[in-house]
Point group: C2
């Protein structure tokens, strides 16, 4: 009987745990679900006979050590900064490990030891990073196999609200960490276009978007992620003239979000004195040049926004000119904005989320240019089996099974950029409804 230890039974673990309990029936796994709240672990495992919910605080080193010792494979759904400590124990105790987080330098440094211990330290096994790498590499390898030369690769991902639950003018609700959404894009974006490096400072980022179309869903817009350049080596396309990774929002979102950026309301580097006393309108006013008159009119004049346009409609819908107090002490502008947004952009019980991803390839074969679009749309089933939980949890679960069933024999620090991993992963994801649609031209 193979034993799996899952650390962390948070929201994003639900689909992962269900998948592995289903597989446990077929392969006779024991699935230990460990959380600092026993109730959480019990709720997620529903008295399943293959499940073993336990209380575990990973600062309890003795118990953590004993649980890792007991397992064949450890899945860490904990915050990424905790992974290296777990990975070190896995190497020492010769246990496989799977995470959905980016490979850190500390993780990379364990590569040789992990190989010696004959174990795999599998990272980036979720959605982004995860499914993005797998699906991109599969096509990159196919193009190369046909003798094609890649000239451009752009890839965009977004965690959004499904159209059926989209009932506000922003086309957005928080389906993911609100703080990360407020701070998204800070620091300069760096990419390469037509062989030239390109840089976008944060205050220009949301004005320099690309229109991205999904046939089934309509228009979205993508803004550049901070670091696209390092993916030249990740995807083994060092000489590609154009490479950009970006984030998707519903069309119209970025020009309205840019208002907060221009005002300075996404700044998290200082606290506002007496922030608990401010109303939303006063907060906005503190970023405007001093003048008499209506705050809405002054904002419109300062940033050149039409009073009756779509941007202003979005801002008014948020209550940006209301006398509501935000009531947060020692808050940064970003935290006050987050507080406002959380009161407006929270999911309702029956809301359905959605993941959208699109890869755009351009390549030449024998001098003939080709284009290929590969698009993924995944909607949540309900508020437990969200699109986010499925697209992060299912690849982690599938890869875990592939390792335990010896279908993935690789050792050391790995990501799903290699055929031995992406091929069976993408195949099984398709059977679970996570399927890319390709389109030429």
């Amino acid at each position: 009987m193979k034993k799996i230890l899952i650390l962390g039974a948070g929201r994003s673990s639900s689909s992962l745990i269900e998948y592995l309990l289903e597989e446990a029936k077929k392969h006779d796994y024991e699935v230990t679900v460990a959380d600092t709240l026993l109730e959480s672990a019990e709720q997620k495992t529903k008295k399943n006979p293959y499940a073993r919910p336990i209380l575990l605080d990973i600062t309890d080193e003795v118990k953590t050590h004993a649980e890792i010792q007991r397992a064949d494979l450890v899945i860490s759904m904990l915050p990424a900064f905790l992974h290296p400590a777990i990975a070190k124990q896995c190497v020492k105790l010769k246990k496989h490990m799977v995470t959905a987080s980016y490979v850190s330098q500390e993780m990379k440094d364990l590569n040789e030891e992990a190989k010696k211990a004959r174990i795999i330290l599998m990272n980036e096994a979720g959605l982004d990073p995860g499914i993005d790498h797998a699906s991109a590499m599969k096509i990159i390898h196919q193009i190369k196999a046909k003798g094609g030369k890649l000239t451009a690769f752009k890839s965009f991902t977004g965690g959004l609200i499904a159209p059926e639950s989209d009932d506000n003018p922003w086309g957005y609700k928080f389906t993911w960490n609100p703080r990360n959404v407020v701070l998204a894009g800070q620091g300069a974006a760096r990419y390469i276009e037509n062989g030239k490096y390109a840089f976008i400072p944060y205050h220009k980022l949301f004005t320099r978007t690309e229109k991205i179309r999904f046939d089934e869903l309509g228009d979205f817009e993508g803004y550049a992620n901070r670091d696209s350049l390092s993916y030249r080596s990740v995807y083994e396309i060092e000489d590609i003239p154009t490479l950009l990774r970006g984030t998707l929002r519903k069309a119209g979102y970025c020009e309205a979000w840019n208002v907060f950026v221009q005002l300075g309301m996404t700044d998290d580097t200082y606290t506002i004195p007496e922030s608990e006393k401010l109303t939303v309108k006063e907060l906005v006013e503190s970023f405007l040049p001093h003048a008499e008159g209506d705050v809405k009119n002054r904002l419109a004049g300062y940033l050149g926004i039409h009073l009756e346009g779509e941007i202003m409609e979005k801002l008014e819908w948020l209550g940006l000119f209301d006398d509501t107090k935000l009531n947060v002490k020692n808050a940064s502008p970003a935290l006050l904005l987050q507080t406002l947004l959380e009161s407006k952009w929270s999911l309702k019980v029956n809301d359905i989320d959605m993941i959208v991803m699109q890869h755009q390839f351009e390549y030449d074969i024998n001098g003939t240019p080709h284009k290929l679009l590969s698009s993924l749309i995944v909607k949540g089933d309900d508020n437990i089996h969200t699109a986010m939980a499925k697209t992060v949890g299912l690849p982690v679960g599938i890869i875990t099974k592939l390792i335990l069933e010896d279908k993935i024999k690789l050792k050391g620090v790995q990501t799903p950029t290699v055929e031995e991993i992406y091929e069976p992963l993408l195949k099984e994801l398709e059977t679970l409804g996570i399927r890319f649609k390709e389109k030429e031209g």
Copy 2:
């Protein structure tokens, strides 16, 4: 015979050393000038009989200790981060200390010990901070003594080129640390206006300037410094409705500088790959949206700049669209910009610098509003006795003398915000040509 130890014989020490050697004749001082380059110390002291130039590396703890032990008062003209270590030794050895730098928390923490040792740790004894505090506090105390209530205080300072040496369209050359000029203003500016907190993000800072007039010199513009709010307690004006400190540039500078801010060229947080290969024009292009066509036209279109206007004239004068290589490896955008500017904005041998400062007060007496302007203009005598060297060095020298002559009896950590210091300081500065002009209304 009183013994003074000056640590650091850099450019800003010249006027200080000359002043103290002049006073040495009258008061019989020994002035030890210590530098890591003996030649520097010797050049600055010109075989003056009261001078003792020495070689001293302050990492040599034994020798440094011996020199502090030998002195009655230590002046540190070293970089500010080195002051606390020197101050601790001064406290231990019961020696007075004077610096022109802001009081750090580490320095503050020595207050009680310094009082016990019966010594003064005198800080902020230069221009800004220094003369600004002294001159502002004198007027604030005068207004309070008349029963006035301060309603607004704005204060602006600039280190600039004198009109007679101003031969470029920017009205600017580097008279001070170029790196600090390139990075100036980063981080949000925070102040208070009409009783309301106000915040300006960096990317709006150079568009939100105030016009500042000096009768003798014409128009300047001031942009807000990062922190004005803390001066409410420094100046004991906690309830003032309007308080702003800012930096002065020649009129027209800020709208042109804003081009670099908008492009992202002042960013020092990342390095540009293969930066040594870039020409100036290619550097500019890397911040523009991808398109065909002339870089100058694209820049003008992107930022809405007139092709024949004053902003473009300034940019062209800098050679911003030239094919000149910058030749700096692993450079940030800010470092590349600095490299370009240093090739254009360097002082010529006979260039004269200039310090401008203006305090603007508004106050009520018995319900009647009053206004008061207090302005300072100091020009350099030559390229040694620069305005910067005089306005930083002379107050340090004067305060040093006042301490040694027991005219300043205060102990502990001090700044020139108290009458016992600012009164004799401003009086002697006037005799040396550093004199504020006041104007009512």
